[in-house]
């Protein structure tokens, strides 16, 4: 076991994958200088041909990575901030997601696009987005949302192995969080949720950084005699619906904590699926704990209360079990 941070875990996954396969290359702004910390000594280890500093041309290099993936490379693209993905929206939606389908299966796109969600750090609305739900709405993209160092490393190894395009939404609120990781290489499969804590009264599904908050909430609730089951889906596409349904069948209640905006968010989708396929086991309305549909303000005092917190998750659980009467948004 070695204790490493979330950020270092991403770097480790990249290093292992690049050492294992010369077709894996890294493209991104400032990767050669390791500005963001996920490519330490990569230039020395792999050279500038495989560690490529990109110009600030997201549309260009996102598309180029797709073309390279279609013709024999397995690129990893570091987009740094998730908000910069919008510059490349056409390439993500019209090329990356569609090229295999539109050409009748002739293309494979083994490419991973990594982007960090820098919320809760006073970067204001241009740098704080958590845009995975937008991309869940685009068939053809696989989506991982690692909630810790272990998940970040294991999921990224799988993502690089996959012959499909993967978007990795990394949670910058977790960057420095350390965890003990196995010394040997490991992978976490896509579409398999992690049952973080078992419980009987209520199911809490939490996404990315919200898993950490939910853990705290579940611990506090246990102290109050409430047994909550915590599930981390780990990947949103594919989504492990079975594990969630199985849990709701046991608990009859569901709270979904999702740091993205509420409307058409991941929580909305999970709620809809449970409503469609698990309605009979529900004893209470499904509740969402999201970021409200507002842009992210700069001032820490304005920003901090907006995201799913342990306190907000705890309150939602109490509403779900009827300990608190009405649902106020």
């Amino acid at each position: 076991m070695t204790r490493i941070s979330y950020l270092a875990a991403i770097g480790e996954a990249q290093r292992e994958a690049m050492a294992a396969d010369p077709r894996v290359i890294l493209i991104g702004e400032d990767v050669q200088s390791n500005l963001y910390g996920t490519a330490p000594n990569f230039v020395e280890m792999f050279g500038v041909e495989r560690v490529r500093n990109a110009p600030i041309s997201e549309e260009g290099f996102v598309g180029a990575a797709a073309g390279a993936a279609m013709t024999g490379l397995r690129p990893i693209v570091d987009l740094t901030y998730a908000s910069f993905m919008y510059m490349a929206m056409d390439q993500f939606v019209n090329q990356v997601a569609k090229n295999r389908y539109m050409f009748g299966g002739q293309a494979s796109l083994p490419v991973v696009y990594r982007a960090s969600m820098f919320y809760r750090s006073s970067t204001a609305a241009h740098h704080s987005d958590r845009p995975y739900p937008m991309f869940m709405n685009v068939p053809g993209l696989k989506i991982m949302v690692p909630s810790g160092a272990y998940e970040a490393k294991g999921l990224l190894r799988t993502a690089i192995d996959l012959d499909d395009p993967v978007l990795s939404f990394e949670d910058a609120t977790l960057w420095t969080k350390k965890q003990d990781l196995p010394d040997e290489e490991f992978r976490i499969p896509f579409g398999v949720a992690n049952l973080v804590t078992e419980g009987t009264d209520v199911t809490v599904v939490a996404i990315a950084g919200a898993v950490e908050e939910a853990r705290k909430a579940v611990a506090a609730l246990a102290g109050e005699g409430v047994s909550a089951e915590l599930i981390d889906p780990r990947t949103l596409v594919p989504l492990d619906v079975e594990t969630i349904l199985k849990s709701v069948a046991k608990t009859g209640r569901l709270v979904v904590a999702d740091p993205a905006h509420r409307t058409c968010g991941a929580a909305a989708e999970i709620s809809a699926l449970v409503n469609e396929y698990g309605f009979d086991s529900l004893k209470a309305p499904i509740l969402r704990v999201n970021t409200p549909d507002i842009q992210i303000p700069f001032s820490p005092s304005l920003e901090r209360p907006l995201y799913p917190s342990a306190r907000r998750i705890q309150e939602a659980v109490k509403r779900a079990i009827g300990a608190v009467a009405s649902a106020s948004p």
Partner: protein, 342 residues
Amino acid sequence: MPELTEVYAPVEVDRETQLEMLRRMQRVRSFELTVASLVKKGELPGAVHTSLGQEAEVVGACMALAPTDYMTGNHRSHGHPIGKGASLPPLMAELLGKSTGVCRGKGGSMHLADFSVGSLGESGVVGSAIPVATGAALSAHVLGNGRVALCFFGDGAANQGCLHESLNLAAIWKLPVIFLCENNQYASTTPARTVLSVDRVAQRASGYSIPGVTVEDGQDVLAVYAAVKVAVDRARRGEGPSIVEIMTYRYSEHSEGLLHAGAYRDAAERESWIARDPLVLHRARLLTAGVATEAELDQLVSDVEDEVASALEFAVASPLPEPAEAYADLFTTPIPQFGGMV
């Protein structure tokens, strides 16, 4: 700035290549005429853009490439794979939405792709395949497999941001890619001169310190071939990207059957281009140079017409895809729709 000065130097083109140029131009011509008549009869679904009039530009460029080289293109999508050597029946079947289509009925007229001849796909979104071609060149460069990539784009696409990002990316990374502008002088109904900041798209090459050349007579397949060949050879030598712009003209409306509110092109202008038809020009050259006889060329044309006719027969006789095929080929490792197909 490097110049493509060798462009107008005569190139050695052997007899078989010269005949193949005519054959492929004729394939595009016959294919497109067949397609246009199908549209007229209401037998082709969707929007259809033909390359009638642009055959020399399409074929001259494709033939400067090796079969293993990569290519992307745009909505005017039939000529490119045909020029690259794709087999016609699956292309025609694709246009008819059949399961034997080259894209199994998922792409249609604007989005042909035939990976077996290096055709990595045409984009209905204007300009969008340019970064993809740039990436194919990146893989060729990193893998060192000696391939090059060529992207076809129109005068309209010349104003897309992704072209400029790709030009810069290819220039700084010295990627083996040819940015081939098919300047047919209009984007739908918009004259290029009213929306381009330059007279010639190739002038923009200087902004990226790469060679740029315009073939003013894009109806001359040998001139196109010669210019593109210089850029291809340069790319293959590891000297980086070029812009090659070909001045040409489309005979038909932007898309087949499109009705325009107002005239945006002069009838006389169109007539003057038709008077210099690329197939007629090349045929005359072959005859004058004694490369082939009238009878041999007539045979070539009728062989191609038969080929297109049997491609159509194949397409018509092919089955439509089963409804379940709509769910296939989204991912390499599929994800089942939860709860089954809707």
